[in-house]
């Protein structure tokens, strides 16, 4: 199953939830924000939204800026 994450293609074996994806990447859920097919997904919903073929995911975080 192919999805786009932050502009790059990734291949997932199974359909997993956004929550599982974030955990698998070793990310701290409190420090990231997720957009799924251009919709913001609140953290409470991460475990209910499953990734599908051709989904577009953006995983963002705060960095230094002026």
């Amino acid at each position: 199953m192919k999805i786009m994450v932050n502009g790059k293609q990734e291949v997932l074996k199974d359909s997993i939830s956004i929550g599982e994806y974030i955990t698998q990447k070793g990310l701290n859920p409190d420090t990231v924000v997720v957009e799924h097919n251009y919709n913001i997904i609140q953290k409470e919903e991460w475990s209910n939204v499953f990734l599908k073929e051709n989904d577009v995911l953006e995983v963002l975080r705060f960095v230094g800026g002026g």
């Binding site: 502009g7 913001i40 963002l60 705060f62 960095v63 230094g64 800026g65 002026g66």
Partner: protein
């Protein structure tokens, strides 16, 4: 002295806002905040880089400091609105610095797109602080659009050149019924002090501190300069004149 700056219902003691970009290490940030006294700090939102470390700038920002995420990277209102909504969803409050730039040489903001984004985001309950060229008509439309402040540039971002737009900023301070926060271009504590003496509500700076040889000491210097300038504004500056006016009595000379 009770002289608080109120933005979006929040009372601020310090009139210095600082950025978090360009530091040699983010670990300097707590000392920057402590020494400068700044209570508002800007951050940017970017794609996670899964290859590099997962270190997060937020880890270095103490609780109680007001985060001001910016929309840097946005080239139009639509992109700025998208970034603002994501920043709010990250759970760090509802303040947003609108920064919409499509000019890569001078990084000058797009007033028209900034007004559009401000209208939408203010209606959604954001505390909107737009970065603008010091244009009176743009600033007036931002007041109507529901901005919480206006943030005119003193000189292009990162140039450290000071208040090149001084006369236009003076007009904004006189005419705009919102806090005028000088953002961008301030390179020296004396520049920040000058902006505050003119009646600016606050100064936002990043490069001048982050690229100093000793950023923490420079942060302290800026904190003092902003305070001094504010006090001078409140005290009321004496009038200038062309000719000398003796400070000592002109009578009773010893001859």
């Amino acid at each position: 002295m009770d002289d608080k700056l109120v933005i979006g219902g929040k009372e601020l003691e310090s009139r210095l806002f600082v950025g978090t970009g360009k530091y040699s290490s983010d670990s300097l940030i707590p000392s920057i905040l402590e020494k400068s006294g700044a209570q508002v700090i800007t951050v940017a939102l970017r794609r996670m880089d899964f290859q590099s470390s997962t270190e997060n700038v937020l880890d270095y920002i103490p609780k109680g400091i007001q985060l001001l995420p910016n929309t840097s990277g946005a080239r139009n209102a639509q992109e700025a609105i998208r970034i603002a909504r994501l920043a709010r969803a990250a759970g760090c409050g509802n303040w947003i610095k609108i920064e919409i730039i499509s000019d890569n040489k001078y990084l000058l903001p797009d007033g028209y797109e900034t007004i559009k984004a401000t209208e939408t985001l203010a209606a959604e309950g954001f505390v909107v602080l737009p970065y603008i060229s010091p244009d009176l008509m743009v600033a007036r439309k931002l007041v109507e659009a529901g901005a919480a402040a206006v943030m005119p540039l003193g000189a292009p971002i990162g140039t450290n050149r000071g208040l090149k737009t001084k006369e236009l900023i003076r007009i904004l301070i006189e005419e705009i019924p919102l806090p005028v926060i000088v953002d961008a271009g301030i390179g020296r504590p004396s520049h920040a002090c000058e902006a505050m003496e003119m009646g600016a509500a606050a100064c936002l700076l990043n490069t001048a501190i982050a690229t100093a040889e000793d950023p923490v000491l420079m942060a302290e210097a800026f904190g003092k300069a902003v305070q001094a300038g504010r006090q001078a504004y409140l005290a009321g500056l004496g009038a200038e004149s062309m000719y000398a006016d003796a400070s000592s009595p002109l009578t009773g000379f010893l001859r």
